[in-house]
Symmetry: C2
Subunit: 227 residues, 2 copies
């Protein structure tokens, strides 16, 4: 059982492979080559082979990968069959939507505790769970052995939440607040700012427009080209 270091970029692609393999298994596909997986995922075949090789030797030369066995091996290594309890912090519009997001349940994540900073939300029920005050977070996380947290608070609460998470012994956080979260170095954090993601797209568009007009300018007045 080889336990190699898996590069972050490869790790981030593993969920794609899992989804693709599950779909194949559901369709009764027994074996798949890296070519076929490439077609169904939109990635390069060589990249898929390299990524899977970080986990060990699972393929059969001349044939490909046995879908079921590959899934089993990944389940074992990646805790896929394990049900992961998750703490949700923040139950505004976005937080509440995530509390009942079926995608999490389908992938074996269960939100087992909900926290919020605003006193008026404490005690209300979100997706069948009573909202707890932020101060109870460290205690409940510890008691229930929760290792993953999902943060969806407004930017002005991020600092406060960081502190509570840091003292709770949580292991990893998916942060959807529009501000990067900084807990200690032992905690893995993924920051996803949806508005920033939209901005990346709009920046790209805005610059396209600019370079188009700049290109047009250059074409009409060659002297401007050298800059």
């Amino acid at each position: 059982m080889k336990v190699q270091r898996v590069p972050p970029a490869a790790l981030a692609r593993l969920p794609v492979y899992v989804q693709s393999l599950k779909a194949m298994a559901d369709q009764g596909v027994g074996w798949a080559s890296s070519q076929e997986m490439a077609r169904s995922t939109g990635l390069e075949a060589s990249q898929i082979r390299r990524d899977l090789s970080y986990l060990g030797h699972f393929g059969t030369p001349g044939v490909g990968y046995e879908v079921k066995r590959l899934l089993q091996d990944m389940s074992l290594h990646l805790g896929l069959s394990h049900v992961w309890p998750v703490a949700l912090v923040g139950c505004g519009t976005l937080g509440s939507a995530l509390a009942s997001y079926s995608g999490f349940v389908e992938r074996n994540f269960r939100i087992v505790a909900v926290f919020d900073a605003k006193p008026e939300t404490i005690g209300t029920t979100v997706a069948g769970i009573q909202v707890q005050p932020l101060d109870l977070l460290p205690q409940l996380v510890r008691e229930q052995g929760i290792r993953l947290a999902l943060v969806a608070v407004s930017s002005d609460c991020v600092q406060e939440v960081s502190a509570k998470l840091a003292s709770s012994g949580i292991r990893a956080v998916l942060n959807l607040a529009p501000k990067p979260l900084s807990v200690g170095p032992e905690v893995t954090v993924r920051n996803i700012d949806l508005a920033a993601e939209m901005q990346v797209l709009s920046f790209h568009e805005a610059m396209n427009r600019l370079s188009v007009s700049a290109a047009a300018l250059r074409r009409s007045s060659p002297r401007a080209a050298g800059q």
Copy 2:
């Protein structure tokens, strides 16, 4: 006015700089060095200098960057002050939550049209906008000059939505469906699968556990180490 190619990795960090600069401007900070920006963003000073240099020469050696002017220049280049109309596709729990997500409005994105595939939702109102059938998407996108779309449908609708978007002339898509979206090569797509992001964290945790126990194993029975 230099129009250099900005590498994707740098482009993805620009929203962070914008947020940080805005916060500084609000606090009345006039100038900031790359050091100071590094402190407030958690990134490396040298990386910030390199990233900003792709946009042009904005700093003053020995002093730093003038916060207000840098923001103005970025606004000009990146269309920051422009209000971007956005089409929302999918108004389930997640889609509806995003329709009223204040983060988008704060960053000048306005959802101006909402579409859904399910007949029972057509005609209902989400965030003050009447939900339209998917078939009207190409027409309305064209008529209203919409360039950005936000997709939050279930995985079984992704294919159908792809086709409609492709024929609509949309320019960029933020896809939150749990399945990658493939439109033509002229359309920029960012796929964010929230459940997959959670999986990346849980994989990391699961592997940590494994390597810890593997390390323990190795320590207790040295013969297993070579492999």
